[in-house]
């Protein structure tokens, strides 16, 4: 089957600095890929290129059969985005933030209101619809951003550290929802710092370091494939090894 998201030979340069270096992967329907990497590895930049918030230096991305460079409106229509920053409109209430977002997808008013009610209930924010954004806790904002990302019934959901800073209850609520969406045929692209989250949600893990994919595989089989006991050990070893490598190179030059 044709992948719903296809990233091929993707690179990103900021001036002379290479943030993403020749990354390729394919995301199939109702699958979840997790990008695992230290801060600054290039995860957010990769995601931003996918949702057309960063320009593509080299390579090609297609979403739902459309090319991101050529028809961004079509690719974005298939995406639901939980960005690393919350990006909520402080001049609007919780409810209005949802409506404002849904309008941009041409969702009919009636349907939009219905979806908003349902999603706010799922996010545990049904009683907060009249609240200002500034009245919400960090966890509530995060859940609101997730609810907002589901308004357009996306085919692919992009989640940039969706549960960072959340309490364990909220994380479980979100995981359950993501499981359910996956079973309904939605695909997920996730970044996370939590091994348990990756283990729980991902079918495939890509370990990214300095813009390059160093290892990939299922969370259960990846460690053994590279000769490690656990995902965490593999992750630390793979990323550390290259740090030391660079020190040696620097010392020699």
């Amino acid at each position: 089957m044709k992948p719903i998201l296809e990233v091929s030979h993707l690179s990103k340069k900021y001036g002379s600095f290479t943030a993403v270096n020749d990354i390729s992967f394919q995301l199939q329907r109702n699958r979840c890929i997790a990008l695992l990497g230290t801060n600054g590895a290039g995860k957010t930049t990769t995601m931003k290129m996918i949702y057309a918030a960063a320009s593509i230096t080299r390579g090609r991305i297609t979403v739902d059969g459309f090319d991101v460079k050529k028809s961004p409106s079509n690719t974005k229509r298939a995406l639901g985005i939980v960005s690393q920053e919350d990006l909520l409109d402080g001049s609007l209430t919780v409810y209005e933030n949802m409506i404002a977002h849904g309008l941009c997808y041409d969702i009919p008013k009636r349907e939009l209101k219905k979806r908003t009610q349902n999603l706010l209930t799922f996010a545990g924010l049904a009683n907060y619809d009249d609240k200002q954004i500034s009245d919400l806790s960090g966890g509530m904002r995060r859940r609101l951003v997730l609810a907002r990302a589901l308004l357009n019934h996306p085919k692919v959901i992009i989640l940039d550290e969706p549960t960072t800073g959340l309490d364990i209850q909220s994380r479980h609520v979100i995981w359950k929802k993501l499981d359910q969406l996956k079973s309904e045929g939605v695909s997920l692209l996730l970044t996370s710092h939590y091994m348990d989250e990756v283990q729980r949600l991902a079918d495939q893990v890509l370990i990214i370091h300095r813009g390059k994919i160093l290892a990939s595989g299922a969370p259960d089989t990846l460690p053994a494939k590279y000769g490690y006991q656990s995902l965490e050990e593999a992750f630390l070893a793979l990323t550390d090894f290259h740090e030391e490598d660079d020190h040696i190179v620097q010392a020699l030059s």
């Binding site: 900021y14 949702y51 057309a52 918030a53 960063a54 320009s55 961004p72 409106s73 079509n74 974005k76 229509r77 995406l79 985005i81 960005s83 920053e85 990006l87 909520l88 409109d89 402080g90 001049s91 609007l92 209005e96 409506i99 404002a100 977002h101 309008l103 941009c104 997808y105 041409d106 357009n152």
Partner: protein, 254 residues
């Protein structure tokens, strides 16, 4: 290049309207207070010492200038302070651009919204001025169109500036060094013809000067020559409309 979508632009205007509706009550007073104060100080107070200017009572001269200036200020506030907050502080531009709406639609939508805002506040002030006897022709019904055109122009101009500035403080420079001089020297409070010779060509460069001429012609029922000034405004809008589209991609997409 960057294709515009009418549908997306419509959505952006709707979003701006949603925020505006909530803040209308708090924003109407400051937006109208400024021209009302000038109207009292100049149009009523100073008028006693001035008599006729260019063949009309000074009160009418000033009021018609203030109607156009009100639209300039309303559009400028929208395109500078409000737009800056949406671009850089709350970053709602990024949130909207995650949907099928693209950045070029957002920026053009906001310029058009600045025009709408200019029409709303300019017309409100026009109505107040009407009660004080400043309307002398049925042609006044065309004034809102002029206010929109002028607002669109200052919306585009303000957005270009807002996209270029490195931080919020620079917006004050725009207000002080660009907008304030135009406010003073665009046939608003006294005829440009009475200004020093060397300054007059600069006044001609002020969009507000042309807007004032049109506004005055319509309010007083003396429309001769307004086509030239209208044409000037339309040409400038067409000339600069592409610039914010180019800049929004240069400045907000990394």
């Amino acid at each position: 290049m960057y294709k515009l979508s009418l549908r997306s632009i419509k959505h952006v205007i709707q979003l701006n309207y949603m925020s505006f509706r909530k803040l209308f009550k708090v924003s109407v007073f400051p937006n109208l207070l400024d021209p009302i104060l000038y109207l009292i100080a100049m149009g009523i107070g100073l008028a006693n010492f001035v008599g006729n200017v260019e063949g009309m009572p000074y009160f009418l001269f000033v009021t018609s200038g203030l109607v156009a200036a009100t639209s300039m200020n309303a559009a400028t506030n929208e395109a500078t302070t409000n737009a800056f907050i949406q671009m850089r502080v709350e970053k709602t531009y990024y949130a909207v651009s995650m949907t099928p709406v693209n950045l070029q639609d957002i920026i053009i939508g906001q310029a058009i919204w600045a025009g709408i805002r200019a029409t709303i506040f300019g017309t409100l002030f026009l109505i107040i001025a009407g009660f004080l006897g400043a309307i002398h022709s049925w042609l006044v019904i065309f004034v809102p169109f002029l206010l929109f055109l002028n607002g669109l122009l200052f919306g585009l101009l303000g957005l270009i500036f807002t996209l270029l500035v490195p931080n919020r403080d620079y917006l004050n420079y725009y207000a002080m060094l660009v907008i304030q001089p135009m406010y003073m020297f665009s046939d608003t409070f006294f005829p440009v013809a009475n200004m020093p010779r060397w300054l007059q060509p600069y006044c001609w460069l002020s969009p507000l000067y042309h807007a004032v001429k049109v506004c005055r012609g319509l309010m007083l029922g003396n429309p001769t020559g307004i086509w030239f000034h209208l044409g000037w405004l339309v040409v400038v809008v067409i000339l600069i409309a592409g610039l914010p589209i180019y800049l929004v991609h240069r400045r907000l997409v990394y």
